[in-house]
Subunit: 192 residues, 2 copies
DNA sequence: GACGGAATTCATCACGTGGTGAATTATGAG
DNA sequence: CTCATAATTCACCACGTGATGAATTCCGTC
């Protein structure tokens, strides 16, 4: 039957929830029909509330925090704890936005715009400020940041996208303790 | 005009070349029309030579070597050089199959079957044998292998898929020298 | 309780997808 | 030279996609 449903409308929120799941699974190649299906609603509601599938993707994917803000407290840490602090912070944020992160990376692998945005996200605004703070030799900043990005990106890929065990289900603290040394070395250890 | 072209047919090979490029760019969401277009040929030739788009993808993507074979010589290295040898070997192979690797990972992010295959590829057949050889404490093998996989997967993502500079264009030796220490620590260093 | 506006579904569209089969042309073996 | 066979294009199909607009039903306000 067409026509408005009885009671207060929860459709917009249920679309967001469903979209988060489905986008996290398939990236933006997810289907409006599948999202709407999971939300128990007609696909036309997506256009109604979000203009288009892309609009919905943007909303789902931009509930994001600016990494620069998040990472700011790390700049106050002692040099010995810098990597640990950085990872704790990043994992904290990402664990609570894991479906957004998965959707972003899944899509970024085939979308240059989004790939650039993700590079900025992780490398420019997340990692480089920390490098500049703790290892300010200008001739080394790019190298150190890139190497750190490599390790961090691999963590994201394994934990949130490919969901490799035991990384995917490990406690945040466990992940931090095991990976921080590598990051710490890239940050202030010897280069090569 | 329809009908056979004059001269010997290079179509099959040109389809393979075009497909390697396009699949590397977009993963298997690439279009038969685009591949055929780049090859200067009608899309129907894909079905003719490879049965289906999936068949073409499989062929392009399975020119691959078994990592277990490739990695075998690493098992002879001295413990101090193990990570360096492993990375040198892997990068050597991957640099010469980089489009295949990019296509695989781009697709694996949205395809559970392929994701599992890739996990086997990198972790089970590439990394774990090396861990068992150099760090055979059974209670630690899984952890060490997973941590190494994290770093290696990040390298693949940055160098071949997202093409982050300076990682993407760096000389193999440069990459090995800078990343080997982290891998080496995961392999035989202290855990946490 | 009447009525404007919001919510919802439905039928439908235009389009891009991969795939198929017939028609056409060149090749190469006998 | 002949003719089976392979190579190639073309027209076309069935299908799934995202989107649109009208029709229907409910909500809230006056």
């Amino acid at each position: 039957m067409s026509g408005r449903r009885r009671g207060p409308s929860t459709t917009r929120q249920e679309l967001l929830d469903a979209a988060r799941e489905v986008f996290a699974d398939r990236g933006d190649s997810a289907t409006t029909r599948e999202i709407a299906g999971k939300a128990g609603v007609d696909p036309a509601m997506i256009a109604h509330y979000f203009g288009s599938k892309g609009g919905l993707f943007d909303v789902v994917t931009s509930l994001s925090v600016d990494p620069a803000d998040v990472v700011a407290p790390v700049l106050e840490a002692s040099p010995d704890d810098a990597a640990r602090e950085l990872l704790t912070t990043l994992i904290g944020v990402w664990d609570s936005h894991s479906s957004m992160l998965a959707a972003l990376l899944r899509t970024a692998t085939r979308n240059k715009t989004l790939a650039a945005q993700m590079r900025t996200f992780i490398l420019d605004r997340g990692i480089r400020p920390v490098v500049i703070r703790f290892s300010p030799d200008p001739s080394e900043v790019e190298t150190r940041a890139a190497l750190m990005a490599t390790q961090v990106a691999g963590l994201v890929l394994a934990r949130y996208v490919l969901r490799w065990e035991p990384i995917a289900s490990a406690e945040p603290a466990w992940v931090v303790e095991h990976i921080a040394p590598a990051v710490q070395r890239y940050l202030i250890g010897p280069l090569e």
